[in-house]
């Protein structure tokens, strides 16, 4: 059965079709990877279709037009919150680039009407499950105020989840709870912890099960 499914999968790969789901045997992992490599090497297939590029642009334009907090024009009452949210997003972006622990010093573009907090230190980590699957990222940011941000994607778990930060002295600080919908969720909060002393983070269900953990780089 597995061989038939493997053959069917390879047939789809060879023909450039979308392969169907099946539970692959770890022994076949290398074969499947090489089949991808060879198929990707077929001349002329590597560039995107113009219609796809155009259609996706239209979809993203619709998505962008539905956003309610344009950068640079925050509403009066929510101005500070919107500013921080924008900065938070920026720090998350930078977090993706900083594998080490230091060196987020300045951004290159700043809306002058919005005073961005000066980030002094950013620490990042990748949430992984106990079997090593990547499940999201976390960014902790030292500033005034200090913040922590995280996103989770592709979890098997749905429901409320608590984020706990581990400090260098071994203590654990619960920074808040958020909800995973369809295995996906985001969370941000300002914290009163010295970012430099953080060791890691855990995402824990209400029953105490650890869904994923991360060690800060």
């Amino acid at each position: 059965m597995t061989n038939r499914r493997l053959s069917a999968f390879l047939d789809a790969v060879a023909a450039g079709r979308r392969p169907r789901h099946f539970e692959a045997d770890p022994e076949d992992e290398a074969i499947l990877r090489t089949a991808m490599t060879l198929r990707a090497g077929r001349p002329g297939d590597a560039n995107p279709d113009e219609q796809f590029v155009s259609d996706l642009y239209e979809k993203l334009a619709d998505q962008a037009s539905s956003q309610v907090v344009p950068i640079g024009r925050p509403g009066k009452a929510r101005r500070g919150r919107a500013t921080l949210a924008a900065v938070a997003a920026g720090v998350v972006l930078v977090g993706g680039t900083v594998v080490g622990t230091e060196a987020f010093t300045q951004v290159t573009v700043t809306p002058a009407a919005v005073q961005a907090p000066q980030a002094k230190t950013v620490r990042t980590g990748t949430f992984e499950t106990s079997d090593g699957r990547v499940m999201g990222q976390i960014v902790a940011y030292q500033g005034n105020p200090s913040w922590v941000f995280m996103n989770v994607n592709g979890s098997d778990y749905n429901g409320p989840i608590v984020c706990k930060l581990q400090v260098a002295n071994g203590s654990t600080v619960a920074v808040g709870a958020f909800e995973l919908h369809g295995g996906t969720g985001e969370f941000s909060r300002n914290i009163q912890v010295d970012i430099a002393r953080l060791r890691g983070a855990k995402l824990v269900t209400s029953s105490g099960t650890v869904v994923a953990s991360s060690t800060f780089a």
Partner: protein, 197 residues
């Protein structure tokens, strides 16, 4: 041109350029920054698609995953970042999206994206004319194989022959062609591992 927002009365930290009531603010734009999401999209769509295609080997999946990366990444995107930072963010998002894809499809991380090692995918010149590196990589693997192994894989994965067509071309039975393909893939996988080490 960027809009010039007016300060709100309760604004905590405006930087007015004049003392008038209606004050315009300037936004300093680095030459190494994107101005809007459209520029992020246009500059990276080809590159990101090529990377995804190299990882999944088929157009439908590459399109879906590329779409997912942009839908996920552009929402919280802050334009106050350098191009390099934005691309790094796209790569981190792409890594997560691809990992989820393989978990759903096969339950194994068949291929992955390393934001450091794969950074060159997003810094090489963009555009349709940019050649992919995938053909060279496939060529190096095939070149290391015995003739019959190389031929069956060329027929199947580069020339998109069905197993029947490949068997006919090589003058073997369909069963033999399947066995040949399996053995050839095993050896090719070993070659690929050696290339990476």
């Amino acid at each position: 041109m960027f809009p010039a927002p007016r300060p709100s009365p309760d604004s905590a930290s405006p930087h007015p350029l004049s003392g008038e009531d209606h004050v315009a603010y300037l936004r300093v734009v680095s030459a190494d920054a994107y101005t809007d999401w459209e520029s992020v999209y246009r500059d990276n769509i080809d590159r990101l698609y090529r990377l995804m295609y190299a990882r999944v080997g088929n157009r439908p999946d590459a399109e879906d995953l590329t779409s997912e990366v942009f839908r996920t990444a552009l929402g919280p995107l802050n334009m106050a970042l350098s191009k390099g930072e934005v691309r790094a963010y796209l790569l981190v998002t792409a890594r997560t999206v691809l990992a989820s894809h393989w978990r759903r499809r096969l339950g194994l991380p068949i291929t992955s994206i390393d934001p450091d090692a794969d950074a060159s995918y997003l810094v090489e010149p963009s555009g349709q004319e940019q050649p992919s590196r995938a053909p060279q990589r496939a060529g190096r693997i095939l070149a290391a194989l015995p003739d019959r192994y190389r031929r069956i894989l060329e027929l199947r994965f580069l020339e998109a022959c069905s197993i029947k067509e490949a068997a006919l071309t090589m003058d073997v039975s369909v069963s033999n062609a399947k066995v040949l393909q399996h053995r050839a893939l095993r050896m090719a996988a070993e070659v690929e591992v050696e290339m990476e080490s």
